[in-house]
């Protein structure tokens, strides 16, 4: 793997979306700072969470467009004329977009954990549930990225994004019903039950599987342009 060319391509994609990226990260940091300084004002906290969540969703959309756009705007021949293999191209796309997304995702995670810890209203036992749900969001975004880079089709990507959103709700409802989860949610302390740990591992496992599948599919492709 030629890390040099992969880095150049990632930087290129970041540069193309620079205004959005900078705006998202700066807003995210400011919001986090606001949450930390909120002194427990619940309204401010909830607002902060909403802002962070919105940024995250927006980032998801940018990810979709970045990969589909190379095909749509016909810049793919230019990129593929560079000394890069298709696998390296795929890596740059997935890595570049997921890196940015992870940064914002982390901000949201920290923001939510901080909110829960600060406010008396939210029991700290919620935290494992929140972590599981947020990793679910990460998983869903990885799915979008994987579909986007392999199909290069806006239609497919949007379709998967919508299914992902529905799945998120469905999974959320079913997890809440799990005895281990629902019991610990109300506690004042953070309790990591076996179920929650298993769920987390399953989610990370699925993420690895999806990314692996994306790479596999890309390596089997015979017509790139």
């Amino acid at each position: 793997m030629n890390t040099f060319i992969v880095t150049r391509l990632i930087l290129k994609d970041w540069y193309l979306n620079r205004t959005l990226l900078v705006a998202a990260i700066v807003t995210g940091l400011l919001t986090l700072a606001g949450i930390a300084a909120s002194k427990g004002n619940s309204i401010a906290l909830i607002l902060g969470i909403i802002v962070l969540a919105t940024i995250l969703i927006g980032m998801g959309a940018v990810i979709m467009s970045s990969m589909v756009n190379e095909r749509k705007q016909q810049t793919l021949p230019f990129v593929m004329s560079l000394p890069v293999s298709y696998l390296e191209y795929t890596t740059s796309k997935l890595l570049g977009s997921l890196l940015i997304f992870s940064v914002l995702w982390l901000m949201l995670l920290l923001g939510m954990i901080a909110t829960i810890l600060i406010t008396p209203w939210f029991s700290n036992g919620l935290i494992p549930f929140v972590v599981i749900m947020l990793v679910e969001v990460l998983m869903s975004t990885c799915l979008i990225a994987a579909v986007s880079v392999t199909t290069e089709s806006q239609g497919w990507t949007i379709g998967v994004a919508q299914i992902g959103g529905l799945a998120l709700n469905a999974v959320g409802f079913s997890i809440v019903r799990l005895p281990d989860i629902s019991h610990t949610m109300r506690s004042r302390t953070i309790q990591w039950s076996t179920t929650s740990i298993v769920l987390l591992l399953a989610e990370f496992g699925t993420i690895a599987l999806m990314l692996g599948t994306a790479f596999f599919v890309q390596s089997r492709k015979r017509d790139f342009v």
């Binding site: 150049r8 016909q74 000394p83």
Partner: protein
């Protein structure tokens, strides 16, 4: 390593509505090959297979001694590729693209790039979306040329350019060949350009290579013989007659293996030779294609 810059051997690629069949090509280092064919004949497919962007169904492809598509990343370090459907990033400037490409290729020649900016009449600070089609083509060519690649692969490099632009581009392409280690492969519908600067010429039609030879051979071998037949005289039998046009008394024979002795043969057969016309590359191409499509094999 010199010798052969591009080699195709029995390359085929099947699509639902089109098949590229049995393509054999050999391009010696230090020469220019012009690739001529109608739309949909298979020029772009062949070029994409050459670049490793499409994987052939069978056959071998070697470019600069790299096997394609397996070694495409390594090969592309020494190849400059410009295709007609290639677009640069519209919201960014030409200067950004020049910077980007030069950061990837150590062989980027800054002075030469500046020379090309002047001779192509381009402003580096302009955004790509503000350029006309012709300027975009020249911008993409600049990015490929300034790296001084060992092999230039160009899909319709002069299509869409005005006559001045065409002249500038052809001049730069020929200048590349001043270095005999560098090679150019270009496809074009513009037979005038191909006739002017190519050393080797290959014709492709309906997915098959129908002819490939050096330019002077083409221009030497193809002729139109204008004859005048007296009454009750049969047409002289000549080898390599591709087409018989004109009228019964005044036939025009198109031959692809002309020898001066043919004139004598016609005389002996009783026909008067009124003229032996050379043919332009365009006429040669059309005659070649038509005869193949009608099933006349020469």
């Amino acid at each position: 390593m010199t010798g052969v810059a591009v080699q195709f051997s029995g390359v085929s690629k099947k699509y639902p509505h089109f098949t590229l069949q049995d393509v054999d090509l050999e391009l010696p280092t230090g020469s220019i090959m012009g690739f001529v064919g109608a739309n949909g004949a298979g020029k772009s497919t062949t070029i994409r297979i050459l670049m490793g962007l499409i994987h052939q169904d069978c056959g071998t492809v070697h470019v600069l001694n790299h096997t394609m598509p397996a070694n495409q990343a390594a090969a592309k370090r020494d190849i400059g590729f410009v295709s007609e459907d290639m677009r640069l990033y519209a919201s960014l400037t030409l200067a950004w693209h020049m910077n980007f490409v030069s950061s990837i290729y150590p062989q980027w020649d800054r002075l030469y790039a500046e020379h090309l900016l002047r001779s192509f009449d381009l402003k580096a600070e302009r955004k790509i979306k503000g350029l006309s089609h012709g300027q975009r083509v020249k911008a993409a060519l600049l990015l490929a040329l300034a790296r001084r690649p060992r092999l230039l692969v160009l899909d319709e490099p002069t299509t869409g350019l005005d006559p001045v632009g065409r002249r500038e581009v052809l001049a730069e392409l020929v200048a590349v060949l001043a270095d005999e280690e560098r090679t150019i492969f270009f496809s074009s519908q513009n037979t005038l350009d191909v006739e002017q600067i190519s050393d080797q010429i290959t014709f492709i039609d309906r997915g098959r290579i129908i002819d490939s030879a050096n330019k002077e051979t083409f221009l030497d071998r193809w002729r139109r013989l204008r004859l005048m037949l007296p009454l009750n005289t049969a047409l002289p039998q000549l080898p390599g007659v591709i087409e018989v046009g004109g009228s019964t008394r005044l036939p025009v024979l198109t031959v692809n293996r002309f020898e001066p002795a043919m004139v004598a043969v016609c005389q002996d057969a009783g026909a008067a030779v009124q003229a032996v016309d050379a043919m332009t590359l365009e006429e040669i191409f059309i005659a070649n294609v038509q005869s193949r499509r009608e099933g006349v094999v020469a």
